[in-house]
């Protein structure tokens, strides 16, 4: 890539440029903004539904309007200045796209005549300070007339409809009917219903927005993964031209998919700023966040797997009910992605999937780290273990006998995914070797023989996932080398903890030799970067990073011409030394010129390259996880003692950042397997709406992780990189779940749904003992 013999910075452990500020004065998140234009901003407080399903009668705001510090109380009835809703298309829309369904399924900005989940916004209260807002919001009297509550997969058959005009609680149906003939020829067929439970994303910074309308322009500061998409959504919802809106993304305190674009609450804040002429700011409380921010997962999966006694899987089927919550914000996208990736890393001749998306009186479901892929991996990996148990074979061996072999790439699955590159067997074998698999099985056998009350469980998962699923949407970059020799990279990608600023500066240094500390990275400001997509689906490096890389190459080639002109030499003789960032005639150091010399010679604008980079196809990272747990059979308590992984995302740009992504992903996967679940009671009341009840995983519940290096480059892009943001979660969930069940299999335990809490594990042990 780079010229000369210099050792590239790429692939090295570079500490982050972001960190000094974050460690000393802290990040500047939306609620930290102390801009003059926000000095007198009103504080927004939402009135939210305390009931899961009700029609709304009168809303009495008179008492609230007399509350101290009150500026305004606004409800849906005040929204008479918005564009008409799009024409009713029957709600079909694009069922596979991750966009809200319209027509009879439309979601209002503030509840109009009905509330459909606890936490649904009903009114917005503006006050001088936030304490006054809490007081005033309590004075808003809403006449809720309760309706029967619809919950769970049974919503499909419920008499009560959330959207009467839709005539059904089933928003999307897709897939193929069950063909039992596919299981002919199987010696063993195993069936199991599994729950992939509802989770709360819990970014440490909740949703936050500030908005100001001045001089015919709306400026919105929002905690989002996508400034440009947020502008697009705001323009549509508020009936504004995108040019009338500026969206700025300050530091973002985590997103995990739940901050893709922006939510109705943020749109209402922006609308209120325009409506009242006051700047308005809102930062939700955690209790609001746990019911107001979208949730993830929430699939019920009926799995069937069959094969021969020598370990060959012949057929696999999964039937999914996707609980989408009160509004189908993602249409059929999530279970669609689960279906696409259902077969996982295996070569299985017959694969069938089908799904139904049902609405329920719960918080809407959307993307959460993995977004449909962890659900696919959880299902197939649980199925592989059930099949292994059914034929009495070691689960590692069953996997090895069915993994797609390394000479089969590119490999097209029965579901139509084209896996680009991989060596799935090597990933599994590396993990087994690093973990000392035979020794672990010996220790397990010893504890089983001795009747140790603390049993050892070993769980495996092999996985493949899809990243940059919307590769064709691409990403933008604009790189400027200024007359003083410094550079600025403008990226359409969006950072919220991943380390984009460090990684993009590394890419510029590698190509141009301009030191990282002289490279400024700018993201998340639509006035400066009008075109961009942002961050989700582990797309940043392979699209946004490659765009920066290509922009750097383009700048370098422009500079070659300019340097030749400056030195009065032939362009073909010009050489860039990336270790010093200097141009010279090849072999003649006396002609040496700096980037400042060259860029200033190019003109006052310096050197500029703009790139819109798209890829022809997604990439497919893969790997294997092995979890070791100890299960106290007397209390049901699970202790996660080891976690060994190989997560192969192609060529690694910065191992420090890639490992960090894996660590965080693993922790969120372990959290789903062992501790986290968002729970409702039979009336649709959330039982886990604070962090004292929602068991966000802590340091004390996790071991240190043992990461095995594996890098199989992809040909899809010039960096050889795939995505790494979600792999840890995808692999960890089934590895840990399988480990818990593995520990208890001698007792006759065949399956335990997640999370494997002490109560649930203890109940499974008791039930197994009683049925013996």
């Amino acid at each position: 890539m780079s010229e000369g013999v210099n050792v590239s910075i790429l692939g090295t452990r570079v500490v982050r440029t972001e960190d000094p500020a974050l460690l000393t004065v802290g990040g500047t998140y939306v609620d930290d903004l102390r801009l003059p234009e926000l000095t007198w901003a009103a504080r927004a407080t939402f009135v939210r539904s305390p009931v899961a399903h009700a029609s709304i009668g009168d809303i009495d705001v008179s008492a609230a309007l007399a509350a101290p510090g009150i500026i305004a109380v606004l409800t849906a009835r005040d929204m008479d200045d918005l564009p008409p809703p799009p024409p009713d298309d029957g709600g079909g829309g694009s069922e596979g796209a991750p966009v809200p369904m319209g027509g009879p399924w439309s979601e209002p900005l503030l509840a109009i005549d009905r509330v459909r989940y606890v936490g649904e916004p009903v009114a917005i209260v503006l006050t001088e300070d936030s304490y006054q807002g809490v007081d005033a919001a309590e004075q808003v009297i809403v006449d809720y007339r309760p309706l029967p509550v619809v919950l769970g997969p049974g919503a499909a058959d419920a008499e009560t409809l959330l959207f009467p005009r839709a005539s059904s609680n089933v928003a999307v149906t897709a897939g193929v009917p069950a063909d039992e003939l596919a299981f002919d020829g199987c010696d063993v067929v195993v069936r199991q219903t599994v729950q992939n439970q509802r989770l709360a994303p819990v970014p440490m910074e909740g949703r936050a927005v500030a908005a100001r309308w001045a001089d015919g322009k709306l400026t919105v500061w929002v905690s989002t993964q996508n400034a440009q998409i947020s502008r697009f959504i705001l323009a549509g919802a508020l009936g504004l031209d995108p040019a009338e809106i500026r969206v700025i993304t300050p530091d973002v305190g985590g997103g995990f998919g739940a901050k893709v674009g922006l939510d109705r609450d943020a749109i209402v804040v922006a609308w209120a700023a325009r409506r009242t002429g006051r700047a308005v700011r809102w930062a939700e409380t955690r209790s609001e966040n746990l019911v107001g921010m979208t949730h993830g997962r929430a699939q019920q999966q009926d799995i069937t797997i069959g094969g021969t006694r020598d370990g060959r899987v012949l057929a696999y089927r999964v039937d999914i009910v996707q609980d989408t919550g009160a509004y189908p914000r993602m249409s059929g996208f999530l279970p669609g992605l689960t279906s696409l990736m259902a077969v996982g890393p295996y070569d299985i001749p017959h694969v069938q999937t089908a799904f139904r998306v049902v609405v329920t009186n719960t918080t809407p479901i959307s993307a959460y780290r993995g977004a449909g892929r962890p659900e696919a991996t959880a299902a197939i990996e649980r199925a592989m273990d059930l099949f292994a148990a059914g034929i009495g074979m070691d689960p590692a061996e069953v996997r090895r006998r069915n993994l797609i072999p390394p000479d089969a790439f590119p490999h097209t699955t029965p579901g139509g995914a084209v896996y680009d590159s991989g060596d799935y067997v090597v990933a599994l074998d590396k993990v087994l070797a690093a973990a000392g698999y035979p020794g672990l099985r010996d220790e397990q056998a010893r504890r089983r023989r001795s009747g140790d009350p603390v049993q050892l469980g070993i769980g495996l998962a092999s996985y493949v996932e899809i990243t940059a699923a919307d590769a064709a949407a691409g990403e933008t970059a604009r790189l400027v080398v200024h007359a003083d020799g410094t550079a600025t990279a403008y990226t359409g990608s969006s950072a919220h903890g991943q380390g984009h600023h460090t990684a993009w500066a590394m890419l510029v240094q590698a190509e141009l030799g301009i030191p990282m500390d002289q490279v400024t990275v700018v993201h998340g400001d639509t006035d400066v970067i009008p075109e961009g997509v942002g961050t989700y689906a582990s797309r940043s490096l392979q699209l946004g990073g490659v765009a920066v890389h290509k922009a750097a190459i383009s700048v370098r080639e422009q500079a070659r011409q300019v340097a030749a002109d400056l030195i009065e030499a032939s362009e073909a003789d010009m050489e860039l030394d990336t270790s010093t960032g200097t141009w010279q005639v090849r072999g003649d150091p006396a002609t040496s010129r700096t980037w400042a010399d060259v860029a200033s010679h190019a003109g006052p604008e310096g050197l500029v390259a703009a790139v819109q980079y798209a890829e022809g196809q997604p990439t497919f990272p893969f790997g294997a996880h092995l979890a070791v747990v100890e299960v106290d059979t007397e209390t049901g308590k699970v202790r996660h003692v080891r976690h060994v992984t190989a997560d192969d995302a192609g060529t690694v740009l910065n191992p420090l950042l890639a490992e960090g992504q894996r660590h965080g992903g693993i922790a969120q996967g372990v959290a789903q397997a062992l501790v986290e679940e968002f729970v409702y009671d039979a009336e649709g009341n959330p039982l886990t709406s604070t962090l004292t009840d929602y068991a966000a995983i802590t340091a004390a519940e996790l071991p240190s992780f043992e990461l095995v290096n594996s890098q199989t480059p992809t040909d899809v892009n010039p960096l050889g990189a795939k995505g790494i943001g979600e792999a840890g979660t995808i692999g960890a969930v089934p590895a840990v779940q399988n480990a818990v069940i593995d520990a208890l299999s001698p007792l006759g335990v065949r399956h335990i749904d997640m999370p494997a809490t002490p109560a649930r594990v203890w109940a499974a042990i008791s039930e197994a003992r009683e049925s013996r």
Binding site: V15, R16, E18, D19, P20, L22, L23, T24, V25, G26, G27, Y29, D31, D32, R34, Y131, V202, P203, M204, E205, G206, D251, V252, G253, G254, A283, T285, R286, S287, K430, A433, A434, G497, G499, V644, A646, L657, E659, G660, H663, G664, I666, A667, Q668, T690, L691, T692, A696, T698, A699, A700, L702, S704, F705, E706, L707, V708, N709, S710, G728
Partner: protein
């Protein structure tokens, strides 16, 4: 009520609403925004500061309770010439932060932990951080950073 709290060595006096929480006093009155609010149940620790040298969750105290006391926030850790505190240095070197939102509270919790136990084991660190949530790092590198800050050996876990 009128009160004075010494924040990072600087006395801050103000007339405030009695019910003002210490974290809001720090953020809105003292104007120091490193200290974050991550929950409303004293569960997450993003608001951790030192009060009289002890770590406290500043969302759980009224500002009035800190009247006349010394508070230290993340802004007060670095040396006068901007040199990072050893815990801050270790968090950077070991990549113990990603989005940064939990970081000021996590760093203050770590400073307090090391003041009480200068050479903690990994298990003691994990137990000591139970009241501080991080959603990005899986805690792995935070634990390593605290081990490194206590001058203990940190192993590289890369196996193959």
């Amino acid at each position: 009520m009128k009160l004075t709290v010494t924040v990072n060595g600087r006395p801050v006096s103000a007339e405030i609403d009695d019910r003002t929480l210490l974290v809001h006093f720090i953020r809105e009155v003292a104007g120091l925004t490193a200290t974050n609010v991550g929950c409303d149940t004293s569960s997450c620790g993003a608001c951790t500061v030192l009060l009289g040298g002890q770590s406290v969750k500043s969302c759980t105290l009224l500002a009035a309770q800190a009247d006349g006391c010394e508070v230290m926030t993340a802004e007060g850790l670095a040396g006068p010439d901007g040199e990072l505190h050893p815990v801050q240095q270790a968090f950077r070197a070991e990549h113990g932060l990603q989005c940064g939102f939990c970081t000021p509270g996590m760093v203050m919790a770590a400073v307090s932990l090391l003041a009480e136990n200068p050479s903690p084991t990994e298990e003691e660190i994990r137990a000591g951080l139970e009241g501080n949530l991080c959603r990005c790092t899986g805690y792995h590198n935070i634990v390593r950073a605290i081990l490194a800050a206590s001058n203990q050996t940190v192993s590289r876990e890369q196996a193959g």
